[in-house]
């Protein structure tokens, strides 16, 4: 089957992460939160990875974080990224602790800095999926 540039790669929705992606589609960032050890974690799972409690609920995150590390992808591994390369990929450390992989939007590649404050934004990719993305706080 031919893959065209418009065919974006999508996250795989599972019973454990369904809530995360449902929230993202509604432009909300929610994280699994352990009620026993009072920590947010990622990726979503039924038990807390820190204390293995199954008292896990979901909490709205502030959407604020900082750039923990970042790269600029030049190599095109998939046709859907052909028109975007070179594009940034960052590890964003959220205020709540967990770190997410995301693209940084609305910032030139050369202006990205370690520790840069960023806030969540959403990229509607299909009717079902919005990617959780980040942009500079000062944008």
């Amino acid at each position: 089957m031919m893959t065209s540039a418009s065919d974006r790669i999508l996250p795989i929705v599972t019973p454990e992460n369904e809530r995360y992606w449902r929230s993202a589609r509604a432009h909300a960032l929610e994280l699994p939160y352990c009620l026993a050890c009072e920590r947010a974690f990622y990726p979503p799972q039924h038990r807390c990875p820190f204390c293995l409690s199954d008292s896990v609920d979901w909490r709205r995150a502030s959407g604020r974080g900082r750039v923990y590390s970042w790269i600029v992808m030049h190599q095109v591994y998939d046709p859907s990224f052909k028109d975007r390369a070179p594009y940034p990929v960052a590890i964003v450390e959220l205020e709540e602790g967990p770190r997410l992989i995301a693209n940084l939007l609305n910032v030139p590649n050369a202006a990205i800095r370690l520790g840069m404050p960023v806030r969540v934004t959403y990229e509607d990719v299909t009717d079902e999926i919005a990617l959780v993305q980040f942009e500079p706080e000062e944008h």
Partner: protein, 380 residues
């Protein structure tokens, strides 16, 4: 008190295929070729081997791989295993071989790896799927670039210092007639090579390669009667950061720290005792972090350590004397053990380190997800 297993076992045979682009040769055939050469090198009878241990082919993972290899070399072994620690598996399998020998389950193990990712199966390289890929975060270079960036930002490590690693490996490869890359590179070549995943240039990345290599492990006692001088296993370690790059608490300290401490403690030796280092170098940042974590220099000073010719032949600590993954073959690690054994024996010709009586070999895999350490010595 010395560790009771220090020097009790040894690598007594090594073998490898040609490396590079080898169309028409299966992963299984690479294993068989490497094993046949290792058996010949050791001067043992095939029937003496009673353990067949393998790292699964990276490009096309298969169930019961070591059993298939055993069939292809006509052995019904007492012990088989295929270990999944990615590039740390080869050293991990040495530990497993020794455990089984201590249990009395076997007496001589062959450990092999062979794959044909360049010309054969590309199953591993099919269209990426899932969450990381949705953000365009795919391919090994992207993960290692994330670590390299963090190291550069925390400690001031430069692209030129990454280049020093690549230049040394390519120089050493040029002295190795079996290396996939025969031509040395300059700093200008490194800096002018295209970015794959910035800050990593193309010349910071190892190639994809076909080929195989194998080693034979037995007791030091049995080794005394064999054809070639044994490379004694003085120390073994392992430690695995395990988590995804984005979830891992620390990016610039690797499993090498705990693994190295474990191996050096078992050996009763330290970094200063090492005459050479064969350190896993799928990307140029990895030996820099490994050298720091092993204690050859302080954390953050790895970039400085690899500069000024220190890691080239003739320098204080020759690194990856056969060219490593960056120069000899991109195969995930067995070649580094093979070279360590050849250095200990003094078989390396123009790339021989003088009086290479002791050295360290590392294996690691995933995105610095796993790590294992091997200390080799001429004397038990």
């Amino acid at each position: 008190m010395a560790h009771p297993l220090r020097g009790k076992y040894a690598i007594v045979g090594v073998g490898n295929t040609r490396y590079g682009k080898l169309p028409g040769v299966s992963a299984l055939a690479h294993n068989v070729e490497a094993i046949a050469r290792a058996i010949e090198d050791a001067g043992v009878k095939k029937d003496e081997i009673d353990a067949v241990l393998t790292k699964a082919p990276t490009s096309n993972f298969q169930m019961l791989w070591s059993a298939r290899v055993a069939q292809a070399i006509g052995i019904q072994p007492k012990v088989t295993a295929t270990l999944d620690q990615a590039g740390a598996s080869n050293i991990g399998l040495i530990a497993y071989a020794i455990m089984c020998m201590e249990l009395g389950q076997c007496t001589m193990a062959v450990i092999s790896y062979g794959d044909n990712p360049l010309t054969g199966s590309r199953a591993f390289y099919n269209r990426p799927r899932g969450e990381d890929a949705a953000y365009g975060f795919f391919g090994a270079p992207a993960g290692y670039a994330m670590i390299a960036r963090r190291h550069m930002e925390e400690f001031g490590t430069t692209s030129q210092q990454l280049g020093e690693v690549a230049i040394a490996c390519r120089y050493h490869a040029s002295l190795n007639p079996n290396a996939q890359f025969q031509t040395p590179i300059t700093m200008e070549d490194h800096e002018n090579s295209r970015y794959v995943a910035e800050p990593l240039h193309l010349l910071d990345c190892c190639p994809v390669s076909d080929g195989g290599a194998a080693i034979i492990v037995t007791s030091a006692e049995r080794a005394r009667d064999l054809r070639k001088p044994p490379a004694h296993i003085l120390g073994l370690g392992q430690s695995h950061p395990a988590w995804d790059v984005q979830a891992r608490p620390q990016l610039t300290t690797s499993g090498a720290k705990a693994s190295g401490e474990m191996a050096f403690r078992m050996a009763g030796l330290g970094p200063r005792d090492m005459r050479f280092a064969q350190l896993y170098d799928c990307f140029s940042i990895v030996p820099i972090i490994t050298l720091e974590d092993y204690g050859f220099c302080k954390k953050g000073e790895g970039g400085d350590f690899v500069s000024g010719g220190r890691i080239r032949l003739g320098g204080e600590l020759p690194l990856n004397t056969s060219g490593g993954l960056l120069g000899e073959t991109g195969m995930p690690g067995m070649q580094l053990i093979v070279e360590g054994v050849r250095q200990i024996r003094g078989e390396c010709g123009p790339r021989q380190v003088p009086d290479a009586h002791t050295g360290v070999v590392s294996g690691q895999g995933g995105i610095m997800t796993t790590h294992a350490t091997l200390v080799l010595g001429r004397e038990p």
